[in-house]
Amino acid sequence: MSRIERTFNALKEKGEKALVGFVTAGDPNPEMSMELIRAMCRAGVDILELGIPFSDPTADGPLIQRSSSRALAANVSLDTVLEITARLRNETDVPIILFSYYNPIHAFGTEKFYGKAQAAGADGVLVVDLPPEESDEMTGCWNGGTFCLIRLIAPTTPQPRMKMIAGEAGGFLYMVSKTGVTGSAGLDVSQAQVNIEHLKKITSLPICVGFGVSTAADVSALAAVADGVVIGSAFEKLIEENLEDSDLVTVMEEKVREFKSATRVSR
């Protein structure tokens, strides 16, 4: 059984939903990033999503764009992200998903990436600009292991396409809460709930919902229907606002705790 499956099973037993935490790996620099991610783990994050920085993140809003730029300015490459992953894997059993645009992976070598990501202890990868139609290079590298390709479903995705995507997905399905880039304002929680209910009818995979989730209230409303809630920009905002602050790590830990308690909605 994969780490991701084990995590969802354990959460189910406890009557909890998954808190999926996204940060750009290496933001603001590799050492501080390690400290921040450790704090997230201490505070109870259930799944980590580590962003591989990219110069042209077209699906991301300003907060994640800037976090990507900070990491690039600190010379963070895909190699650095794999090192961070391997170090974390020595310390924690929390599933780690790498989150990337395709070009850095393509430049690294897709097959080499597949091997090294697994060796580092990553559990899956989500490539934002790689729809199933363009995934052959990626899926062709699959070696029968538990390393999975996480797929996105958007509010614009029609039903037959949802089925097609769900059929190719592994780990869990990432349901985009609204049409827009990451960190967009104006999350419509009740619409997202309706979309999740739709998706549940066509898949048995766990469903995690994200994009624009920024408050504990949003988290508990979404956790009531989804299997997990993804938080990204809200963490990047916190990092950005507390960059010079000596308690950045503590602030992060408290924030994760707050979101994590909002996922404890026994039904």
Partner: protein, 409 residues
């Protein structure tokens, strides 16, 4: 050249090589985009395949091209320019004489009309030199549509007259300050905006770049350049040309000229911007110096570092200042059907002055790159050879830059 042929467009007996159903030109092209955009891109593809062969659509477009854009554009024998070089004859395809002053209008009329047929009332576009922005704003005014044009702050500076033109036409120019503030960043921002507005907004991409069907569709709307050239050169010279030359930014004016000749015995040369020199970091020679990668929705050559981060392009001409290039050019390079060379900022400036003085034509700085290489090529060829250069646009928008380079001397 048959390796990327699948089924040609229906009802189009002039069709040449086509990408596969998912927009792959050999190993290039495709659709590398976020899932939120996928349904819109698939809808666009289906709409384009359904609407573009429609006789009503074709007639409406032809009337607009002829009575509004000023087509057909002339093919002009540049005798004084040619004579001074002592070699082959140079003919100029005068896209600079179209309404709004560049080939871009061929494409925006096509996409704008498609948007109208699809019932979309909002247009967005990215622009570098501002020519595509102006051409999109023009079509939006013509069809009574709302228009937002994304433009890098660096380009807003160097192409100020075009910003005012877009405003006069009723478009909103959205300044983009991320990255280097040039065309690549404008396209990033247009894509981000589109992700949030995809349900009622049509994205008019300005070159043969982006996800499928854009590279194919934009080429189809531009191929009229080559089709007219074929008939006009036959009429003027009694035969077909030996060489076709066009500048390559994203590659749309070049694809438009080349495409109808792909299966003919004609040499093709695409001219990229060498900026301060292709051995410096400041150039935009994507096919010459880039590596295969994925940018803005398709796989093609890209200027990037060893970690797959996109690097800055540089060119004195805003329209060529782009680190990507259309996927069909990547295939033409790979199959060696076309050759790609580059010309520096200063060579382009010299060509600008030469054409202005010898022929009374002020070319766009983009087009001046093609003229510069054509001068070299013509000088090296016998007087019996014929070169056709795509004069993709006029130089009015560049006068500010031209004057400042003259003052700097």
């Amino acid at each position: 050249m048959t390796d990327h042929i699948s089924s040609p467009m229906p009802n189009d007996d002039t069709a040449g090589p086509q990408p596969d159903a998912d927009g792959h030109f050999g190993p290039f092209g495709g659709r590398y985009i976020a899932e939120t955009l996928m349904p819109a891109i698939l809808e666009l593809d289906a709409a384009y395949r359904r609407i573009s062969p429609d006789v009503g659509f074709q007639n409406e477009l032809t009337v607009l091209l002829n009575t509004y854009a000023g087509r057909p554009t002339p093919l002009y024998h540049a005798k004084r320019l040619s004579a001074g070089l002592g070699g082959a004859a140079i003919y100029l395809k005068r896209e600079d004489l179209t309404h709004t002053g560049a080939h871009k209008i061929n494409n925006t009329l096509g996409q704008g009309l498609l948007a109208k047929w699809m019932g979309k009332e909002k247009l967005i576009a990215e622009t570098g030199a501002g020519q595509h922005g102006v051409a999109t704003a023009t079509v939006a005014a013509l069809f009574g549509m709302e228009c937002k044009v994304f433009m890098g702050i660096e380009d807003i500076q160097r192409q100020a007259p075009n910003v005012r033109r877009m405003n006069l036409l009723g478009a909103e120019v959205v300044p983009v300050d991320s990255g280097t503030g040039t065309l690549k960043d404008a396209m990033n921002e247009a894509l981000r905006y589109w992700v949030g507005a995809v349900e009622d907004t049509f994205y008019v991409i300005g070159s043969v770049a982006g996800p499928h069907p854009y590279p194919m569709m934009v080429r189809d709307f531009q191929k009229i350049i080559g089709e007219e050239t074929k008939a006009q050169i036959q009429e003027a010279a009694g035969r077909q040309p030996d060489v076709l030359i066009a500048c390559v930014g994203g590659g749309s004016n070049a694809m438009g000229l080349f495409y109808p000749f792909l299966e003919d015995p004609v040499e093709m040369i695409g001219v990229e911007a060498a900026g301060k020199g292709i051995d410096t970091p400041q150039h935009a020679a994507t096919l010459g110096k880039g590596a295969v990668g994925v940018l803005h929705g398709s796989k093609s050559y890209v200027l990037q570092d060893e970690n797959g981060q996109i690097t800055e392009a540089h060119s004195i001409s805003a329209g060529l200042d782009y680190p990507g290039v259309g996927p069909e050019h990547a295939l033409l390079k790979e199959t060696k059907r076309s050759r790609y060379v580059s010309v520096t900022d200063s060579e382009a400036l010299d060509a600008f002055h030469r054409l202005s003085r010898l022929e009374g034509i002020l070319p766009a700085l983009e087009s001046a790159h093609a003229v510069a290489y054509a001068m070299e090529e013509a000088a090296a060829r016998p007087a019996t050879d014929i070169l056709v250069v795509n004069l993709s646009g006029r130089g009015d928008k560049d006068l500010g830059i031209i004057f400042s380079t003259m003052e700097a001397k």
